[in-house]
């Protein structure tokens, strides 16, 4: 178990290093002038290009630049934003809480809706409730997040203005719980609905497979009530692929929930990324990309560990 963990962590670090190197080469390989021009944009005056070349030290040999870049990464120094002149790490730390709250809040919701819906569907396949859910799932999967989001904002502001729900930037719950909830509820529901649709499908399929297994028949044969058959034997055994997907999804979303954040004006990592790409704010782009990769690597390690707890047949070696 420990050996496995250590190996996976080392492997994860290698992946991150490869991501960092690739990102570095993408932006910095090439003659100093053309790199500076690329960074500054085609219409930037020559002075700006020169200034960029100076501040970033693009004249130095590529390897020296690379060593400086990696050294900075190790110290947690991701450089300074071109636009706001703030350290990238500060920008990320400012944006992270919004994304964390959004993803974890939505995750709780979508697991409850998705797994619950999947179980309801699977225990009575081809029944009216199963078919109804199937239609809803299809609708959920087909509905673009921004359409749902805009629809929700419209309903909240124009039809039910008394609800108090409104779009807006993230406010820490430790400062103002009321404001926190009024801005977060809609993004949570919006993100959760789309995700839940996928989880209903996944849970339903996995449950149907499991409920067809011999051990379900054994459980019934020993006189266990149907409820326990469904949950203790069926769902418990069916949960493994769902958890796998869950870990990967959460990891991916933590890297930035671009559309949901943008629709609701939530100041999260996704927003930060969009802004930095639009502004050509290179250090921020690099920082956000590495952060996203780190979340995905971490999520994968956690999923593997969770797997061995969920399924005793899996040995980590």
């Amino acid at each position: 178990m420990w050996r496995f963990l250590i190996r996976r962590i080392v492997f994860g670090i290698v992946v991150l290093w490869l991501v960092a190197t690739t990102v570095f080469l993408l932006f910095f390989a090439g003659p100093a002038d053309s790199v500076a021009r690329r960074l500054a944009g085609p219409r930037a005056p020559i002075e700006v290009v020169e200034q960029i070349k100076d501040t970033l030290g693009l004249d130095r040999p590529l390897f020296t630049q690379y060593a400086g870049f990696l050294g900075g990464l190790l110290r947690g120094d991701l450089g300074t934003s071109f636009i706001s002149q703030t350290p990238v790490s500060t920008l990320i730390l400012q944006s992270l809480p919004g994304t964390l709250w959004l993803v974890f809040g939505a995750a709780v919701l979508w697991m409850i809706m998705g797994v619950g819906g999947g179980v309801i569907s699977a225990t009575k396949p081809r029944s009216l409730r199963d078919r109804t859910l199937t239609v809803l799932v299809l609708a959920g999967i087909s509905l673009p997040t921004f359409v749902l989001g805009i629809l929700m904002i419209y309903l909240a502001l124009s039809v039910f203005p008394g609800s108090g729900l409104q779009p807006g930037p993230y406010i820490s719950p430790f400062i103002d719980v009321g404001a926190f909830l009024s801005t977060m509820v809609m993004p949570w529901v919006c993100l959760a609905v789309v995700q839940a649709a996928v989880y209903v499908r996944l849970t339903r399929g996995s449950m149907l497979d499991t409920l067809g297994e011999d051990f379900i028949r054994t459980a019934r044969a020993k006189g266990v009530p149907e409820r326990s058959v469904t949950y203790r034997h069926g769902l418990r055994a069916a949960l493994t692929p769902v958890i796998t997907q869950f870990g990967v999804d959460v990891g991916t979303l933590l890297g930035g929930v671009v559309v949901t954040e943008s629709v609701f004006g939530l100041q999260g990592i996704g927003q930060l990324m969009i802004r930095s790409v639009r502004d050509g704010d290179l250090p921020v782009i690099i920082g956000a990309a590495i952060l996203a990769a780190a979340f995905i690597v971490l999520a994968n390690i956690l999923v593997d560990v969770a797997y061995s707890f969920l399924d005793p047949r899996v040995r980590l070696a």
Partner: protein, 559 residues
């Protein structure tokens, strides 16, 4: 205790059971016998009220006078596990993989009795002990996959008797087990009947099980009663032709020795494969010669499968050497490995698992051909060679019977004209009559193509019929190897003798660290005086040239 009258079951428009009537009294064992598809299992499920919704039943099933066919689901749940219990076949899938065995047995207790968790857990341990599982405290904390097949089957029995049922149904309780474990499980069922006085409905296709354990027998075919009577009447003097065929299929005759083989196609020397904590293969040597069939027998856990996998891996073994067609697998070039792969093919036990359900039969058989850059034109011819219509190429495996699927697996294995076929329990998942057909096909193919077979099976009469030579494996080593007639008629190793008699040997003793590993179970060792005994304790016996038995005290040698 249980009265079934005029029971008919159908799935959609397909009848599974027609007008079946039988009854089992308290303390009695009724053997329900027939091939798969004869409606045995459907009958068992109908009694338990566990038939799928698509099934419709008519007639009457009375348990202790209570009508079950019209009982509510709630009432059935209350009866299941308490008044009537069932031991399913295929114990691999019968336990929920994510819960501990002890907890699953305790769950059965707590479903019917209001007892604290701790009491139920203690009772589960007692039950495991009752069915003969060593170290039950520890074992109760194991997960199902950590049990051997025999142990799982026993644990299933423990779970079924947890609430002292009046009726116990055992559906093919021994089919998946090998000979010695089979004897154990039947003994356990006997003990259970004695202890609980339950009526036992024993469902099987194996006549020897019925002969050993049942009082009366009921022969089923296509869902209808063929013949019924006491075991003596039916097995000794069957009245119906079908019963006679069943009995004939069960009795295997001797077969004449084949012509002398010419060269060695597979050579295994001192092969070792240790997993952490398990010496799965611990120094195995044997030869397979061209045109011969070498039977490999042994209990589950004896290392047969690991041995096969080591051979098929075509890689450098942990220790020892494997030489296939004159090529040492430790030093194969890429090209040679490809060539050896072509000449060494395998047929697995379960064709429903070894054939990709998404591929058509034609694609399955064509795959080895195209992989090795040959034209798939031969597919229809190959199918015909294994006795399938060429038109079957368009079908998917699900639409074939078990026997037909195994034919497809064989066609795939012979597609590249290999020289050696490894057969891993190729017929043990099939019905007796189908089994005979597949065995005949394998023998024809061998004769026509001069194939060599490494034939793994736990069915000894089958091995006796097909093998020229036999190797008996025990705990990672070969206990005895020799010509089939010699091993079967004059076994040199006490373990072989026990296997042939199917005597009950405990199957979960620890393997001793030094000396003869069979010692703890050896009936010969138990009777030896102290002086010759010491050799068994200190020295690992090797296979001696003449007798082929790895025993210090086999009959050929003075003790």
């Amino acid at each position: 205790m249980i009265d079934v009258t005029d029971l008919s079951i159908s799935f959609g428009t397909t009848p599974a059971v027609r007008n079946l009537s039988f009854s089992v009294a308290r303390g009695e064992v009724l053997g329900l016998i027939g091939e798969s598809g004869s409606g045995k299992s459907a009958t068992a499920l109908a009694v338990m009220g566990l038939l799928p919704r698509t099934a419709s039943t008519t007639g009457s099933i009375r348990l202790d006078g209570e009508e079950l066919t019209t009982a509510s689901e709630k009432r059935l749940t209350a009866l299941r596990g308490r008044a009537m219990a069932i031991v399913f076949q295929d114990p691999l899938q019968a336990f929920t993989p994510v819960h501990r065995v002890g907890a699953q047995i305790a769950e059965a207790i707590r479903a019917h009795q209001r007892v604290p968790r701790k009491v139920a857990a203690r009772r589960a341990v007692e039950l495991l002990d009752l069915v003969g599982i060593r170290d039950p405290h520890q074992r109760a904390r194991s997960y199902p996959h950590e049990f051997s097949g025999g142990m799982r089957q026993r644990a299933l029995i423990a779970m079924a008797i947890a609430n002292g049922p009046d009726l116990l149904i055992a559906d093919e309780p021994t089919t998946a087990l090998d000979v010695t474990v089979r004897a154990h499980v039947l003994d356990v069922l006997k003990t259970v009947r004695r202890e609980t006085g339950a009526a036992l409905l024993l469902i099987t296709h194996d006549l020897s099980v019925v002969a050993r354990a049942a009082d009366r027998v009921h022969v089923l075919r296509h869902g209808q009663t063929v013949e019924t009577g006491t075991v003596d009447e039916v097995l000794r003097a069957p009245r119906e032709a079908y019963t006679k065929t069943l009995i004939a299929a069960a009795e295997a005759g001797d077969r004449p020795a084949a012509a002398r083989p010419v060269r060695t196609v597979l050579e295994v020397r001192d092969l070792v494969r240790h997993h952490p904590g398990v010496k799965a293969v611990d120094g195995v040597s044997f030869d397979l010669r061209s045109g011969e069939t070498l039977g490999l027998v042994g209990e589950s856990g004896s290392g047969k499968t690991t041995l096969l996998m080591e051979i098929m891996a075509l890689a450098r073994p942990q220790r020892g050497r494997v030489t296939v067609l004159g090529r040492d697998t430790a030093h194969l070039s890429r090209r040679d490995r490809r060539r050896v792969r072509r000449d060494l093919q395998i047929v697995f036990q379960d064709p429903s698992a070894s054939l990709d359900p998404r591929m058509t039969v034609g694609a399955i058989v064509a795959e080895p051909l195209t992989t090795h850059g040959r034209s798939p034109d031969r597919v229809p011819e190959l199918l015909e060679q294994v006795g399938l219509p060429a038109a079957y190429a368009a079908r998917h495996p699900v639409h074939l019977s078990g026997g037909q699927r195994q034919r497809v697996a064989i066609a795939r294995a012979i597609a590249l004209d290999p020289e050696v076929l490894v057969l891993d329990e190729p017929v043990s998942s099939l019905d007796p009559t189908v089994r005979a057909e597949i065995v005949a096909l394998l023998e024809d193919l061998r004769a026509e193509r001069g194939l060599s077979y490494l034939f793994v099976a736990h069915d000894l009469p089958l091995i006796r019929r097909v093998a020229d030579r036999v190797a008996v494996m025990y705990r990672g080593r070969i206990a005895e190897i020799g010509p089939a007639h010699q091993v079967f008629t004059a076994p040199g190793h006490p373990y072989t003798r026990a296997l042939l008699r199917a005597s009950a040997l405990r199957d979960d003793d620890p393997t001793p660290a030094t000396g003869c590993r069979f010692r703890p179970r050896c009936p010969l060792y138990a009777e030896l005086p102290a002086a010759p005994r010491s050799r068994c304790v200190t020295e690992e016996p090797e296979i001696s040239g003449e007798s082929g038995a790895a025993c210090h005290h086999h009959p050929g040698e003075a003790p």
